[in-house]
Each structure stands twice: as structure tokens, then as C-alpha cells.
């Protein structure tokens, strides 16, 4: 925001850096106490975390691309849908689930890189952020359209990754589905973190994202790094889509990731669009909030979940636009 808009439309800003960790700690305490008191609370929290894992992986994908290019990839969900259908097809052709899962991640990686090369780079050369955003919307329409064209729009059935069983801890029933989803999502993000932190290419990608000009001077091919970024983002999207398809409340259809994309947007905004850690925290938070709210607040019907997420996004953008973990950016005039 420019200083001009700040004087025209006054808002209040949260400045102190201890508020955020306090908030998160408080939230965790709240969840633990609630879970100990009520088994319904515990179950809803855990399945909220599972949904949150789905939103978090997609949110991290969004953040990856945003950090490097300031572009929000509106097609992230659509691309995830494509890869999920690819997995379905592989399973339909006879592969076991986890084999198909692994193959899909590989295909997603290559596909993501190709998409950047073919669809985005030509636009980047000419355009500003607005044109790239619109191109990503074109990509969204193309991706979901391709899915409908190739596989048809009728709902399909995706076998579950995890056994449909339930196990009990202290009288509370938890499903393998939920625990598995949380595990896979966290694992995916963790592996990515390891890659960025400890490998040479990961370091180069980080450097290219924050300072592309300086990165070129040490010999880093920044445009390759960008393609790699899109490839990795596609992999995270694939994980998100696969976990979503496995969940009983999501049906395999071309528009399956539309709502999840909004939740991922809200998560990324909440965490700070430039912070992967923030995206994870944001995703888990949104997942839990959107599960607990309808359980305990009567008028929040399932149809209102999207508007609620929208309100969260709006509030964050008005109160602390850089999100929980972001640094307030000064817009250069």
C-alpha cells in the first residue's frame, strides 16, 4: 500500500513481533484443552487438521511461485486437478495406489516445468503482473476444460490411500484417513524444506527468488530456477489434490479444487504470501477453524464456509496485509 492510500483510508496495524507467537501458542492451548474436554472437539480438530494439510500444501505451492515472481497462480488448483485425474487414470490402468502416487508426482514435476516454459514464459517476456495473472486464469480454464474433455464431467470414484478404519485413543475415534492426510501433507512440505535448506539447487532457487540480478552474476540461470519452482509447486499441488480426492467429502470432478483454492488463498494470505511456514500454519488454522465453526455455531451452514474463508482473507488484508509471518513491505514509489 502506498503512503497515499494509508493516509486516505486509515487502518490499524499490528506491529509487535511477540503477538504472533502468542496467538499461535494460545490457539494450540485452546485446541488441546478443548480436545481433552470433549471427544467431538478432538475429532473435529483432527479432521480439521487433515483438511488443513490439504490447504497447506496448495498454499505452499502458491507461496513458492509468488515469492519468486509476485504472481499468484490462479491455475494452481486446476493443475492439481489434472494431476489427480492422471493418478486416477493410472490406478484405473492397474497400478497400485502408492505407485500411481509416486508416478503422478514425477509427472506433475515435469508438467509444471513444461507449463511454465510454454504458457507462462512467453507472457512474462512481454507483460506485467496483470497479464501473467490473466494468463494463469486462462490456464485455469484450460486445465479444468481439458479434464472435462478427456475424462468427462461425471463424478468419478478415487480409491482411498489409507485403510478406512478408525482407531481409538482414550475413548476418542480417529480415522487413519485423517492421520494419513496430515502425515503426507506435512511430509511433503518437510521434504521440500530440506531441499531448499540443504541442497545447492535449493539455495540457488532461494537466491534467484529474492535477488534475481545478483543471482545471475554468480552464474545462476534464473529462468531455469523459475521453471523448477513451477515444477515443485505442481508437485505440492498434486499432493494436495490426491489427499483431497481421498477425502470422503470431496468428489473427483473437474471443479473439485475450486473451493480448495480459495481456502489455500486464505491460508497463504493469513500466513503471509511470502512465507512457506506461514502458509502451513495458515492452512492448518483455516482447516481447524472451518471444521469447528459449523460444529459449534448454528448458523454456519456448509454453504457458508467459502464466505467465511473470504471474510478471514478480507480481515487479514485489512488489518495486517503481510500476514502472520510476513514482513510489512514498503512499496517503492
Amino acid at each position: 500500500m502506498t503512503a497515499l492510500t494509508r493516509t486516505l483510508v486509515p487502518g490499524f496495524r499490528i506491529r509487535n513481533s511477540w503477538i504472533v507467537p502468542l496467538l499461535i501458542a494460545g490457539a494450540c492451548v485452546f485446541l488441546v484443552i478443548g480436545s481433552l474436554q470433549s471427544s467431538l472437539f478432538a475429532q473435529q480438530t483432527v479432521s480439521g487438521l487433515a483438511n488443513g494439510g490439504i490447504y497447506a500444501s496448495l498454499a505452499v505451492a502458491l507461496v513458492l511461485i509468488y515469492r519468486a515472481t509476485e504472481v499468484i497462480n490462479f491455475a494452481q488448483g486446476g493443475l492439481a486437478t489434472v494431476t489427480t485425474y492422471v493418478a486416477w487414470q493410472l490406478i484405473d490402468w492397474g497400478l497400485t495406489y502408492w505407485l500411481a502416487f509416486a508416478a503422478t508426482l514425477g509427472i506433475a514435476f515435469v508438467g509444471g516445468m513444461l507449463v511454465e516454459l510454454v504458457a507462462i514464459r512467453p507472457v512474462e517476456r512481454r507483460g506485467n503482473v496483470l497479464t501473467i495473472v490473466i494468463a494463469s486464469i486462462g490456464l485455469l480454464i484450460l486445465a479444468e476444460g481439458a479434464v472435462g474433455w478427456i475424462w468427462g464431467a461425471q463424478v468419478k470414484f478415487m480409491p482411498s490411500a489409507f485403510p478406512a478404519r478408525v482407531f481409538h485413543v482414550g475413548g476418542v475415534a480417529f480415522s487413519f484417513q485423517d492421520i494419513g492426510t496430515i502425515g503426507v501433507s506435512i511430509a511433503a512440505v518437510f521434504v521440500l524444506w530440506l531441499f531448499f535448506r540443504f541442497t545447492k539447487v535449493g539455495l540457488a532457487m532461494r537466491a534467484a527468488a529474492v535477488r534475481p540480478a545478483a543471482a545471475r552474476l554468480v552464474g545462476i540461470r534464473v529462468s531455469w530456477m523459475l521453471s523448477l519452482g513451477w515444477g515443485l509447486a505442481a508437485v505440492l499441488g498434486a499432493v494436495s489434490g490426491l489427499m483431497a480426492a481421498a477425502s470422503p467429502s470431496v468428489l473427483l470432478q473437474p471443479s473439485m479444487m475450486d473451493g480448495i483454492l480459495i481456502y489455500a488463498f486464505a491460508a497463504a494470505v493469513l500466513g503471509g504470501l511470502e512465507s512457506p511456514a506461514g502458509a502451513v500454519v495458515g492452512g492448518l488454522s483455516i482447516g481447524v477453524i472451518l471444521n469447528l465453526l459449523p460444529t459449534y455455531v448454528d448458523w454456519v451452514a456448509p454453504a457458508l464456509l467459502l464466505p467465511v474463508a473470504f471474510v478471514v482473507m478480507l480481515v487479514v488484508l485489512l488489518v495486517k496485509p503481510s500476514g502472520l509471518f510476513g514482513r510489512t513491505r514498503v512499496r517503492k514509489v
Binding site: G11, G127, V133, I137, E144, A146, D258, I262, R331
Partner: protein
Amino acid sequence: MRSSLVVRSVVIGAVALAIALAPFILSDYNRSQGATVAVFFIAILGLNIVTGYTGQISIGHGAFMAIGGYTTAILVHDHGWSELSTIPLAALVGFAAGVIVGVPALRFHGTYLALVTFAVALAVPQVAKNYSHFTGGTEGLVLPAHTGLWLYGVSWAAAAILFVLAWLILRARTGRAFRAVRDSEVAAASSGVSLAAYKTVAFGVSAAFAGVAGSIYVLVNNFVNPDLFGLTLSLYILIGAVVGGLGSLWGVLVGAAFIQLLPIGLTSSHVLSSQSVPVIFGAIVILVMALVPRGAADLLRAIVSLHVRRGSNAPSP
């Protein structure tokens, strides 16, 4: 330039004549298709004001259409208003909604605004689904039907009026102020243009247009339900605006025709199945962004200027 003014007037005249005469050679069904083109024309016109002229991205104009559409539907269905009289009210309600959105939108720039409006596009139909005793919920409300001719007449009359209105607004001081805002907020502000006021008004006006479009859309379909105003609608309006050319009034017609007629043309010629349409649309959008980011209007301008240049120089083939 005198000659370009003459050319423009001739073109407007020809197009207007074509639009006026078309219903006499079209079937009734095709006339209502034509009415739908007018609906998109009005919506894209509105979007152009806010995105093309003041540079504020809005991917949620379907939501404003929904507001206008439901206004009309509820007034006609539950309160017995006549359809035509609801249209100005839909515009007013749209304007109010636009201003309400426009005020917080001041604090977001570019990508954030795109995010928020995208979410609005998805959220509003959900709200409509939820409060079903107002809106008829998922099933919606049914409205009296009309002949294709009536719909065509009403929609294109509204389109013509709004086009002239848009042209007047954009020519005047307001329009120049809008463009100044788009091109450089800092420069505009420092030259005394009140940013907040202009941006909010732009949103309001733009939403009013969308409200009218939504209102007529509902009449064309003679029913309303949340799915009518889904994400796809908002996206297609954006595509229409972009392909036609942001910041150009002429491109609006191209854009509207593009999104309504291209799919029909493709499928009725049996070249491709109807399911391939989104794929082609998406591909075209990407191509346009890569090759001619300023849309068809720019392409036309380029072609015209090429001809003008060729005419004046002695070419050596």
C-alpha cells in the same frame, strides 16, 4: 484526425445498423442468443471501466451481476414488479455494492485485489444458496418468459444507452482522471486527483453496469439460481474484456461476441465437441496475453496503422 473520426463514425453506424437489423433475419432462439451477447457487452463494459481504465483488477464481476439479477428476480417474483422497472433499481443496488467493495479495495493493490475478487466470485453464489427463503436457494426462482424479439430489443436498447453513457463518462474529465489513476497512482495523486473518490466511483459505476447486465441476464433465462452466476461467468467476462482489449470501448463488442458466439460457432459446425470449448478459450487467452496483451482492439489498431503507413510510403516488395 478528421479522417479517423469519419472512419469511426462510419464503423459505428454500420455496426449499429447491423445490430438493429439482425433480429429480422434471425430465428427467435438466435435472437435470445443475441440478447445474451448484449448482456455480456454491458458486463464487459462495466469491467472495462474498473480494470481497463482505473487499473483495478476485478475477477468477481459475476457477483455484481448476481446482485442485480437477484434484485430483479425477487422484485418480480415476490413483489410483482414489472421487469423493466427493476432494471434501474438493479443498477442502483449494483452501484451501492460496488462502492461497498470499492472502499476496502482501495487498500489492496493488483494481485491482492485479484485474489479478493476471485474469492467474492465464488462466495456470493454460496450465500445465495444458503439464504434460500430470500433467493429460492439452489432451485432458484422462475420468472415469466418473453419472446426472443422482446429480449433482444430490451437488452440492446440498454446496451446502447449504457455504451453512450460510458463513452460520455470516459471522455470527460472523469475518464481522463480514471486513466491517470491507472497509469500512475502517484502522479495522479500529486496532480490533485482524489484517488480514493475516483477509484470508488469507478467501482460503483462498473458494478452498476454489471447489475443491469445481471438483471437482463435473469430475464433472458427467465429464471435465477446460484449456478447461473458461478465462477465461470466471472472468468468469461474477464476473458471477454481482455481479449477485446482493456481500456478500449470498441474491443468490448469484440469481447462479448467472442465469449458468446465462439463456443456456439465451434460446436454447431461440428468441428469440435462442446467440451473442448474451455480448452480453446484458455489457450486463446494465453496466446492473446503472450502475443497481443492489449487485446483485439490493439491488434486492429496495429493493422490499421500498418495500412496507413503502407499507403503513405512507397513500398518495395
